[in-house]
């Protein structure tokens, strides 16, 4: 638990640094550091699959894509046009509501929490016998929750199609040698 507390404190420090920092290149790098800290927290919580995703997507690909975007739009943060009091108030109210909402959640690693008493015992006890896959995360993701993963894959596909629709130069299609 101590290591998680230390990592979460570091993450809060990185978040403050992101808010204060005006150089967008530093902000992107700090975002990568934040993702790596999050991945380490997930390893400490024994959620290695999620940690792997966080490290590769959050710290790896996202950083590269944001740096690519930064190259297109310049590395300095523009001066705000108006005083940010209203957005600040909205953010504070939402933060307060979220913090209030956490009071209603079950305690950390409470075995009687609804998420641990509903379908999880069945997955944990029957997954190996029913699917023959020792990694329960894979069994749940691809088999028990196959519909959800199909939806997820479709969301990723839609994101790719959206980016193609927005960014692809139309002229390139007429280049000789393509589409033959």
């Amino acid at each position: 638990m101590l290591i998680i507390a230390v990592l979460l404190t570091l993450m809060a420090a990185v978040a403050v640094a992101v808010a204060v920092q005006r150089n967008l290149f530093s902000v992107v790098v700090l975002g990568g550091i934040y993702s790596f800290l999050m991945a380490t927290v997930l390893v400490a919580l024994d959620a290695v699959d999620v940690a792997m995703t966080e490290a590769s997507v959050g710290a790896g690909i996202s950083t590269v894509l944001l740096l690519g975007a930064l190259y297109l739009c310049g590395g300095g943060e523009a001066k705000p046009l108006a005083r940010p009091w209203l957005p600040l108030a909205v953010a504070l109210v939402i933060a307060g509501a979220l913090a209030y909402g956490t009071l209603g959640l079950p305690a950390f690693s409470d075995p009687q929490a609804p998420i641990h008493t509903h379908v999880v015992p069945r997955y944990l006890s029957a997954a190996l016998a029913e699917t023959g896959v020792p990694n329960v995360v894979t069994a749940v993701l691809a088999s028990y929750r196959g519909y959800d993963t199909l939806g997820e894959t479709t969301v990723v596909f839609t994101a790719g199609v959206g980016v193609i629709a927005l960014l692809r130069r139309i002229g390139r299609r007429k280049k000789p040698g393509r589409g033959q």
């Binding site: 699959d49 297109l72 993701l141 691809a142 519909y147 980016v163």
Partner: protein
């Protein structure tokens, strides 16, 4: 960055291992952490590293955009196709029990192909987004 010899040598040494690790994460996902999503991202990262070091045109020659766009749709189609195969063999949509001789081997087969579909779509989308972003500037077009 083509002229920096240290980067080129290190990248040439690293990229095969990155691709191999992607395959390991993909096909060992039944037994260890990982699966299609992570493997797709790691595989795309290897190609992106190649593009950063050797230039975007070189990466486009290696993995043409047309291939990337085909794989982008093929992954989802493969995933949906596994579901339809379940119907064709007399089960429900995405029902893996009917895909093999016995329920457990059917589950194995279903999970395997579904993960392949996820990996194809995820790696293709990551790569396509990178190509489109990088293709708008000229830094990578050395």
């Amino acid at each position: 960055m083509k002229r920096l010899i240290v980067l080129r040598v290190v990248a040439k040494m690293l990229i095969p291992f990155m691709l191999l690790f992607a395959l390991y994460v993909q096909f060992h996902g039944d037994f260890s952490p990982g699966g299609g999503f992570q493997a797709g991202v790691i595989g795309a990262a290897a190609i992106i590293l190649y593009a950063l070091i050797f230039g975007l045109p070189a990466a486009r020659r290696l993995v043409p955009e047309r291939l990337v766009e085909t794989l982008l749709g093929a992954g989802v189609l493969l995933y949906g196709g596994v579901g339809l195969a379940g119907i064709a063999l007399g089960g429900n949509y995405l029902d893996y029990f009917v895909l093999g001789r016995d329920p457990v081997s059917g589950q194995h087969r279903g999970i395997f192909w579904v993960e392949v579909g996820v990996a194809l779509t995820v790696s293709a989308v990551m790569l396509e987004i990178f190509y489109l972003f990088a293709g708008r500037g000229h830094r990578f077009d050395e």
